[in-house]
């Protein structure tokens, strides 16, 4: 992993926001100003603990993290996988207390955005505030699609949906190749995200591979047949709001 520099790299965040609406140079500067020195977080370590009262929100610069809720039997349900450029707990600015935790799934680099600075930003930059608001609304849209998948999709459709989603989200922040992306997650993590057993997930991966839809080895996913994958997932990308429309 590359050492984080003193200046947080916010290209992924800017790429993502710019896909939805124009981001002015002043707004980019304002985002730079709120972010503090980047820090490394090892895979498996909590970035934000459940029930904490953070005084800052956190931008994910590299790596994968996950929102999760724990259960008393030691299990957990992952409710969203975050990719670089995601503000992983912008919610805490207004929610104050975390209703869920955020864990680093791989080694991550994150940058803090102190709440006092974010409040000042919302007062000075209403358009940028709406763009960040939109980002948390999209988090909610992602949760809705996960809920639909969890309750009503087949196991295969659910896994296919997650692969489609992660590919498009990584593509939006310039972190994917052409129909391929790094996904260094264990099947146990995928099981926690899909609400399935690891054994079932392993069978589903084998099934998608067997049908020639994807290749998945060495932590890299290659989509061999996007059309078929999207069909299995019944994928409709509307919820990711990838189109450019002024806010």
């Amino acid at each position: 992993m590359t050492k984080p520099g003193p200046q947080p790299k916010i290209a992924t965040l800017i790429d993502k926001l710019s896909q939805r609406d124009h981001v002015s140079p002043e707004e980019i500067e304002a985002l730079r100003d709120v972010l503090g020195t980047p820090q490394e977080v090892r895979g498996g370590v909590d970035i934000v603990k459940e029930h904490a009262h953070p005084q800052q929100s956190t931008l994910l610069i590299s790596g994968f993290s996950a929102r999760y809720s724990s259960l008393s039997d030691g299990g957990r349900q992952i409710t969203e996988i975050n990719v670089p450029g995601d503000f992983i707990d912008l919610h805490s600015l207004l929610m104050k207390q975390m209703d869920h935790g955020v864990v680093a799934l791989t080694d991550c680099v994150v940058a803090p955005a102190p709440h006092v600075k974010l409040i000042a930003l919302t007062e000075r930059h209403p358009h940028l505030t709406r763009l960040l608001w939109l980002d948390t609304i999209i988090d909610a849209a992602i949760h809705r699609q996960w809920l639909v998948a969890m309750g009503r999709r087949s196991g295969l459709g659910h896994l296919a949906h997650l692969i489609c989603e992660l590919y498009l989200r990584l593509q939006a922040v310039g972190q994917s190749g052409r129909l391929r992306f790094d996904l260094p997650l264990t099947q146990a993590v995928l099981a926690d995200a899909l609400g399935l057993s690891t054994v079932h997930v392993s069978r589903l991966v084998t099934e998608l591979r067997g049908e020639g839809v994807i290749n998945w080895s060495g932590g890299q996913v290659e989509i061999l047949d996007w059309h078929r994958l999207a069909e299995i997932a019944e994928f409709d990308a509307t919820y990711l709001r990838l189109q450019n429309e002024p806010v």
Binding site: S154, G155, L156, Q187, S197, T198, V199, H200, S202, R203
Partner: protein, 87 residues
């Protein structure tokens, strides 16, 4: 914690090479039946094509610890009769 492997068989056996650490055999039973239920849930009428599905749990030495099997048939289970109602 002991390590258990959950192989699945619906005609073709799919070996579990990763396995899972679980506290005891009771937890392995719970996982086995959860896996069976999850996978069968979306098999639909196609389950009658293979008609049988098993989850076989083995320990680190490859010995079978427990197994669970679900079957589909057009005939009733052996020895089963519909009880008269109201008796």
């Amino acid at each position: 914690m002991p390590h258990f492997y959950f192989h699945t068989d619906n005609g073709d056996c799919i070996r579990d090479d990763q396995g899972e650490d679980l506290p005891d055999v009771e937890a392995a039973r719970e996982e086995a039946v959860a896996v069976l239920g999850e996978i069968l849930r979306y098999r639909g009428a196609a389950f009658w094509e293979t008609a049988s599905f098993s989850v076989i749990v083995t320990d680190a030495d490859g010995h079978t610890v427990v197994s669970v099997t679900a079957k589909a048939s057009d005939a009733p289970p052996e020895g089963w009769t519909l009880a008269e109602s109201g008796t």
